[in-house]
Symmetry: C2
Subunit: 383 residues, 2 copies
């Protein structure tokens, strides 16, 4: 099929890089690179009707994905995740249009599969020979299985208190696992320090340009599931932040090719009270977030003291007239019971955080009873 | 939509029962009841093309499902599970057409969601007020969340060594959990003894007529994914056996409405060496299985010493010219690593058993190198 990928562009300074060789961040300013496509060529030639005969997987949005040749695609069946109308929970809270996008239904049980399917396919296309990643858990599991499937060795660095499920699945898939005494940011430093000597390609969130391309498909699916009309509000748990950044980018691309209009959902970022750098920055009206000290929360995926994409997350929140809110671990634990008892959906702590955020958001008038509100359950429950 | 469900029919003696009231097994002979449909009305009026515009979920086969009114459907988004061409594992074993249907991608991470989505929807339709189930784990988790979603109290009985994931998820969904000192058959006896006094409806495999209707959709999906031509061989892990029984029934229905021809896959039942009643019966050419003594295996879902549907499982194996094979726990553990390292698919021990069965089946000439072979990974890995 025809390929519309043009080049990579720095999300901050705009410098252009070729996509034909491996790239990490901008050489000039150190910020994330974004894939850019020949969108104008798709206007009037590629239409939503073309999707109808394609299989129900994220690869149906092929024209806006960065893999040049189909034979490089590494796929474990990235099926479209269900969008569930949460009528019982909505009724309890006084919301008539509460929806949950259940990302636990992707390979390895979390939304991380989207980004890693894309990153590993591209790594295969670019003939990358060794991969390394710092992770809070689910990204490591996803990287491990896609890398195994592509036949590329993977080196995993994660906190020693990472859930057993993630540790075991990485090992089952044959990855090299190192548990460290620290947080994901410390794991990231180890990868950064060792990668040159070891010959590893760094697959860290937003330090690798294609994971975000996988994440944007959450926005594509949501738009398609709502008939190319976006909801009023998206509530999303924020660690590294690629989910919000990806969807924001994806919506811009959909508008550019004429599939959606100007309306954007208000993005509401949810963080844990014990690690809320984005919430703090938003409350202070800043465009960058300061590193969070002494980060702690039951939601390992939200224990990210500093995110390289902070300015991109905050930009999406400000421009969409959204908000950022922190929830306590107790509220997260309570939500982990509320969601299955009302809607039958089992959730990870990160997904539960979006449920926990509903009460304060309603109380503060940030979301209104009749608005169309979408929560992202980013992963499944793990024992 | 129009309703094609006619009545229930005993799978052994043929006695007819109305579907408008709750039913368990045949009052005359104690065997499972099957839902029967007005198939002749669907010939020439319902066609595969009609599926194209329906959402990718098992509910697309609506005409052959037993729920009479749409408003009773309890759904958590039962998406079509991916059928993955296992090229790397196939190459290792000398099989060019090895496929894996990954059932771990259903709600609660296992194929059990299919049967319980159907059973709980029907329970809601029939206004059943309390449910009880004996389970080895995954069925309990699935029942718990669907029952919560339907607002029907659920009583779970399972062995005390049931995986922590299942115990915790049942409790998160608000079910009443009793751990017992025994096997699933012992749990089944407790439900049978107490149900009358407690007013519970027994949702045991094949003692409830609609779980098998959910399971048959595995066969419908497989047929659709292969373009309405069935594969040569289906390798399926067998505990209670509804998977094989359901697919066998489903294929007969598809043939009756003219969507597939006479060809059937050879059904190969895989059991654990420590609990292999179906394998023993098949080896001895019997049409019923004797209860297995001292059942033990790492695959909890295969630790079923006696199945009420034994004669139906064996019938499908004999009529399809299939086979039955037992694999050791060591071979299962080895397969739990082989599948993720080659294909990136994480699996439960039961799904791994089908991978473990490949080597002996090839060595014995039961499957041939060029045949189209489908393994069912019935559930995801749990820590």
């Amino acid at each position: 099929m025809e390929n519309y990928l043009l080049h990579l562009e720095c999300s901050s300074c705009g410098e252009i890089y070729p996509h034909e060789i491996p790239q990490n961040v901008c050489h000039s300013c150190g910020k994330p690179l974004f894939a850019r496509y020949a969108l104008e060529q798709l206007v009037d030639t590629w239409k939503p009707e073309h999707l109808q005969t394609r299989p129900p997987s994220l690869w149906r949005y092929r024209e806006l994905l960065p893999i040049c040749a189909d034979e490089h695609i590494v796929s474990l069946g990235e099926t479209i995740t269900p969008l569930i109308h949460a009528k019982r929970l909505g009724a309890q809270l006084g919301l008539s249009e509460l929806w949950i996008k259940d990302e636990s239904r992707l390979p390895t049980g979390s939304f991380k599969a989207r980004g890693l399917a894309m990153a590993i396919s591209k790594a295969k296309e670019l003939d990358i020979s060794k991969l390394a990643i710092p992770s809070a858990g689910n990204a490591a599991t996803a990287l491990s299985v896609y890398a195994a499937c592509a036949g590329i060795p993977a080196h995993i660095f994660m906190p020693k208190d990472t859930p057993v499920f993630n540790q075991e699945t990485c090992r089952l898939a044959g990855a090299n696992v190192t548990l460290i005494d620290g947080l994901i940011t410390d794991a990231g430093k180890i990868v950064a320090d060792r990668k040159k000597d070891a010959g590893w390609f760094d697959v860290s969130t937003l330090k690798e340009p294609y994971r975000v391309e996988g994440k944007k498909t959450m926005g594509f699916e949501l738009a398609e599931q709502f008939g190319w009309k976006l909801p009023d509000v998206i509530i999303y748990p924020t660690g590294g932040g690629t989910g919000i950044v990806g969807m924001w980018k994806g919506f811009a691309e959909l508008e550019a090719i004429g599939w959606i209009g100007k309306k954007r959902p208000r993005f509401i970022s949810v963080q844990a009270a014990g690690c809320a750098p984005i919430v703090k920055a938003w409350e202070e009206g800043k465009s960058n977030a300061e590193p969070w000290q002494d980060a702690h929360t039951v939601a390992g995926g939200l224990r990210v003291p500093q995110a390289i994409g902070d300015f991109l997350i905050l930009e999406a929140i400000y421009k969409s007239e959204g908000a950022a809110v922190a929830v306590t671990d107790d509220a997260i634990r309570e939500a982990m019971q509320l969601l299955p008892t009302t809607e039958g959906i089992l959730t990870c702590p990160e997904g539960a955080a979006t449920v926990a955020a509903l009460k304060p958001l309603i109380a503060n008038g940030i979301i209104k009873p009749s608005e169309q509100v979408v929560l992202f359950n980013t992963g499944g429950y793990q024992a």
